[in-house]
Amino acid sequence: MLAKVRGLASALLYAVALAAAPTPASAQTVRIGVINSYSGFVAQIADEMQKGIDLYVKDHEKDLPPGVKVELIRRDDTSKPDVGKRVAQELIARDNVQLLTGVILSPVAAAVAPLTAEAKIPFVITNAAGVAIPRLSPYVVRVSFTLWQESDPIGKWAAQQGWKTAYTAVSDFIPGHDSEAAFIKGFTDGGGKIIGSVRFPPDNPDFTPFIQRVRDAKPDVAFLWVPAGPQATAIMKAAQELGLRQAGIHITSTQDLLPDEELPNIGDAALGLVTSGTYSVAAQRPANLAFLAAWKAAYGAKAIPDFASVDGYDGMAMIFDMIEATKGKFTADQAMVFFKNWKDPNSPRGPIMIDPETRDIVQNIYIRKVEKLGGKLANVEIATIPMVKDPWKALHPAK
């Protein structure tokens, strides 16, 4: 009983302290909740995204209108949707955030989205790629990518190479399913045939049996999809050990298979592989060179950004643009109108914009090939498909 009273008392004290916290009267602080997966199997990508977010804020705080400040409140969803939902609830009800951003995992984004509709809080998704998520709430806008946007083009490209048969091996969760479905559509539209598919657990470490299946099926091309990070290196290693390419099987995927920060670890096994993607460190456009310089200045010469970093960076850019346009005073609906019509012709990824009808990102998709540049491996952009909208939404119109 004593313990219970003590517990109540401390909680009471905390509540009083919270209520008494001063709200800034003269300064206008825009509070933004950042929900990220700091722990769990996507932690590496989460770290890249956070660094991108932080870099933009650091470099552009001074550009905010006078008297306006931005406060980021970070919370960890520990890669679980129920924790993500609870954390979002707390950010909205207790911390009174005006915007939510971040989120890596699609199930977490799907859990948070309905809350944003009920509470009318704009939600700027900077990674989670599940195609249907913007439809879950009118307050969701996404600046990252969808797997359909990336995988459909590479499927078509693979068919164009004259490859007739394909085998898909993907991670068994939403982004994996999306990439599989989109690749299959692109490949079969181009005249190819899918001879088999396998899905492996999302945090699976041991790819050998699955690669063995691919090898035994003897397709012309194998579409291997894993979440970007150490798993990409692991699956490439298994492919190398089992001699997939030596057996005459081509490998292709989206940028998740050969993320820029893992290329050094994957090594020469990646040479010549072609993937589709939204961003490569090797891109020579001026906006990217400036971004890389700022990145290395902030995080050291050895730090390598990837597409998640740029997505986080661009997300903050959009939010900052909105804050500047509204001088820090905005309603949720005003913010959404701004977001829906936002464009940036000079992102490190190239030109990007939001599609006002779907509130999803429209961007260039690059076909890239791994080559050696100055002795180091790089994803070199060899072709560009301009301003690709998410094909899934066109195929599945909202009712």
Partner: protein
């Protein structure tokens, strides 16, 4: 070469390599649980620690492979001694629930500590070039590293068996497993025996964790995520023996690889079903002695 046969060989080979890792990790658990009658759910922590030491030495300090592996085994063995003396010893012969509570607590602490020290991301094993790639074995091409695992595992298993059957220390272990009271009454210092056996078992687990780090990823959740698998090997094999976990590890390793190949969407369901059936048929495991 018939492709179904070559697939079976490839999967079997890989399963054998996985089995060796499972064996190295679980054999210590089987012997110590049989000897002390102590429910040790934290055994995976030692395997994980070995994995972190080995990957840390190789990835961050460029240590040679063999040196890193040995260092992992020795470091974990030494570190296990104070754990056994200070924590486990108080609960020998005690309430089951207390043992579960203590060892689960260690599991939780280890996960958070690993996250704090090395971050949340899985630690890859950067093999030297000499150990990567494939090897032609007449009837097919197999991973060189898998072959290494199989050879190492077989050598260690033989060494353990010889040690158990032929050495004085082994005789003392067998005596203590069979009947602790009798062993004490013939003058065996069981308390010292426990510590040494525990250290040996933990060192082997550390070695298994390190060598197997590309099969069972080294990440903060290691000890909790793989607990059921290690316990299954021990429960099926039977407590207190070293033959038991060997056979059980073979069974589980090959079955797991085969399931991944044939029915990947079922995950470990068939492994669990098989375990349940075996435990109902033989509650003390296949070769249980304690």
């Amino acid at each position: 070469m018939n492709s179904a046969l070559s697939a079976a060989l490839s999967v079997g080979f890989h399963g054998l390599a996985f089995a060796m890792v499972l064996y190295l990790i679980s054999v210590g658990l089987s012997v110590t649980m049989g000897m002390m009658g102590f429910i040790n759910l934290a055994h995976g922590v030692f395997a994980m620690a070995g994995g972190y030491v080995m990957t840390g030495l190789i990835n961050d300090h460029g240590a040679p492979f063999a040196v890193a592996a040995t260092a992992a085994a020795v470091a974990v063995a030494l570190a296990s001694i104070p754990v056994e003396r200070l924590l486990y010893r108080r609960l020998y012969g005690g309430d089951e629930l207390d043992q579960v509570l203590l060892t689960m607590g260690l599991v939780f602490m280890s996960g958070a500590a690993a996250h704090y020290l090395r971050g949340p991301v899985q630690q890859p094993l950067r093999l030297p070039h000499s150990l990567g790639g494939g090897v032609e074995l007449g009837f097919g091409e197999f991973s060189l590293y898998d072959s290494l695992l199989i050879v190492c595992g077989a050598l260690l298993a033989t060494a353990l068996w010889l040690g158990l059957e032929r050495s004085r220390f082994g005789a003392q272990i067998r005596a203590a497993v069979d009947n602790l009271r009798m062993a004490q009454s013939v003058g065996i210092d069981t308390s010292r025996l426990f510590s040494l056996t525990f250290a040996l078992g933990s060192g082997l687990a550390g070695l298994g964790g390190g060598l197997g780090s590309n099969l069972i990823t080294i990440a903060p959740g290691y000890a909790l995520d793989n607990l059921v698998y290690f316990l299954i090997v021990v429960a099926i094999g039977g407590l207190g023996s070293i033959r038991g976990p060997f056979v059980a590890a073979m069974l589980i390793g090959v079955a797991d690889s085969a399931c991944d190949y044939l029915v990947p969407q079922f995950g470990a369901f068939f492994i669990y079903a098989m375990t349940m059936a075996l435990l109902l048929w033989r509650p003390r495991g296949l070769f249980g002695r304690a």
